[in-house]
């Protein structure tokens, strides 16, 4: 309709800028006068049907409608965002530009993927800091013990030095793997899979959780390995260790005074099942369904109380990471628990194929 040169130029500029976007033209009554094919998909109506429809009737979106009305009444461009599509599942940045003839051009630029990427990045940062905190806490603890006098005792000091070195190695490895972890988050995991001996993995975890458990007066017990079984799981040993350490950490943190943590593995239908058992507070049925979710904590105050003793923070991420890692291996996680008696968490991984 409006063919004055300014409009044509403005419109051409807009078209250029919005290649791949959904363009709509609406009149001063907010009725659609032109609509692209993308609009048809978004509203699940043939494009022809959209002509003459009001914006609110076609899209049913309060924010989109409000934005267009603002641009129309103020006669100036307006920017905003709106969730559109059948269940509002697609996010769009919306540009509303008034033309001199009284019409409005609406350019809808999809940002669903961008939103998802933002969320992944945010979670990623939180995950990383969580992963760094646990080893840092152990190092700090040992350093404190040393400066409190243990340094005089050559045997203990030597042992702590070895432990500290191990944790620092672990930290260095983590930093080197930041990139890999971002891929776990985005679902493009690169695991360095190799045949791994379950007994070695379990022994390693026991050694790493030892100092933290000792500090809280919790005993760590290694269950005898199944007899006559020569199993190798297909795993990234570093990641698997990280997952089991998270479980062991919880088993210590949510234990009762004088309780025990039992680490072991057994053959199972899915391959090998690693188990981490405790005599702790347990988890009620409804919570069991949800503890593997990110940030989920059974009782915020309780999670905070136990923090100081173990040195670990309580972000509610430990189990989410365990599940990520298990699933990236094609494995699974689970829990059996009775309140006030204890819990058994397990990670099940497939066997390594014949070499």
């Amino acid at each position: 309709m409006s063919t004055d040169p300014l409009d044509a130029a403005a419109f051409a500029a807009l078209l250029e800028r919005t290649a791949g976007d959904i363009l709509l033209i609406i009149d001063d009554q907010l009725r659609i006068t032109r609509a692209g094919a993308g609009a048809a998909v978004l509203t699940q109506r043939p494009a022809g049907e959209l002509i003459g429809m009001s914006l609110i009737a076609a899209f049913g979106s309060a924010p989109l409608d409000a934005l267009a009305r603002r641009a129309a009444s103020e006669r100036s461009p307006s920017l905003g965002e709106a969730d559109l599509g059948p269940r509002g599942g697609r996010a769009f940045a919306v540009d509303a530009v008034p033309l001199t003839g009284g019409e409005l051009v609406l350019a809808l630029h999809e940002i669903t993927a961008l939103r998802r990427a933002e969320r992944v990045r945010r979670d990623f940062v939180t995950n990383i800091s969580h992963e760094l905190r646990t080893p840092l806490a152990s190092v700090k603890l040992m350093a404190e013990t040393l400066s409190a006098g243990a340094v005089e005792d050559a045997a203990t000091a030597g042992q702590f030095a070895v432990q500290i070195e191990r944790e620092v190695d672990h930290l260095a490895q983590l930093v080197a793997e930041l990139l890999d972890l971002s891929m776990i988050e985005s679902g493009e995991t690169t695991l360095r899979l190799e045949p791994v001996d379950p007994t070695t993995v379990i022994a390693d975890v026991a050694e790493r959780i030892g100092p933290v458990a000792a500090r809280r007066g919790i005993a760590v017990q290694l269950l005898p390995e199944p007899e006559g079984v020569e199993a190798r799981v297909s795993a990234d040993a570093g990641r698997l260790g990280q997952a089991l350490l998270n479980l062991a950490h919880n088993a210590v943190k949510y234990n009762r005074p004088g309780g025990e943590v039992r680490l072991g593995w057994e053959s199972s239908a899915g391959g090998v099942r690693f188990t981490v058992a405790d005599d702790g507070i347990g988890i009620s049925e409804p919570h069991q369904q949800r503890i593997f979710e990110r940030f989920y904590k059974v009782d915020r105050s309780r999670a905070q109380e136990s923090d100081d003793a173990t040195g670990g923070g309580s972000a509610g991420l430990g189990l989410a990471i365990v599940r990520h890692i298990a699933e990236a291996h094609g494995g699974s996680v689970g829990v059996r628990s009775v309140e006030r008696e204890g819990s058994v968490f397990w990670v099940e991984l497939p066997l390594a194929g014949p070499a």
């Binding site: 001063d28 009554q29 907010l30 429809m53 009001s54 609110i56 009737a57 049913g60 979106s61 309060a62 924010p63 409608d65 409000a66 009305r69 603002r70 129309a72 009444s73 006669r75 059948p86 269940r87 509002g88 009284g102 009620s284 409804p286 919570h287 369904q289 949800r290 904590k297 059974v298 009782d299 915020r300 105050s301």
Partner: protein, 235 residues
Amino acid sequence: MDRGSGQAGVSLGHGHERLRPTFEQALANVKDNVLRLGALVERAVERAARALVERDVELADQVRWEDADVNELQRSINQEITSLIARQGPVARDVRELLALYHAAAELERMGDYATSIAKLAQQLAAEPEEPIFRQIPEMERLCRSQLRAAMRALVDVSEQQARDVCAGDDELDALYKSVYEASIALMEKSPDRARQATHMLFAAHHLERLGDRVTNIGEDVVFLVTGQIEDLNP
């Protein structure tokens, strides 16, 4: 934030050559405003339920705050409708449409109140020790919203068939409500100290179930608009 002014759709400035809107235009504007009301309510329901699940007190506050927009828009719809009937003496079919819209707007306003009540429950629950929200509640919310969307679409298309389909989902909603009821009783028996959480969740589910009934009423309004018959689609 848009305050949902009732002036929407009436010629937006610069309309010097435009005369008073015709009856047809005025009717279309009323209908658009009812659709706006539906969109506001849908958004309120989604956010209220999200506030409940995520223990987001601020989001709940926003929902409560924005209910004023819903009320204001409904009031202005009512005014438009009554003044249209008084001034223009519309024919029978137009009166029917205006009545259907009037009634739908009233239902939507009530639905906004339920969303507000859920937001209040979200705030109370957030003050209690955390208890997992029964998974049926987000399910009920999704169902409610998709029914509401379908009802609004039936109104846009003036489709009797679509309006009847809207009501089909209502049984599922009732079943979900029943299962929340049982879950809360079980929770109260097992952990009496969680009784408050249990009753709050039960109330939230109750509001959602009522919301669903109101959506069904809008379906009935559309059927009335098309056929002139008043039918109970949710016997």
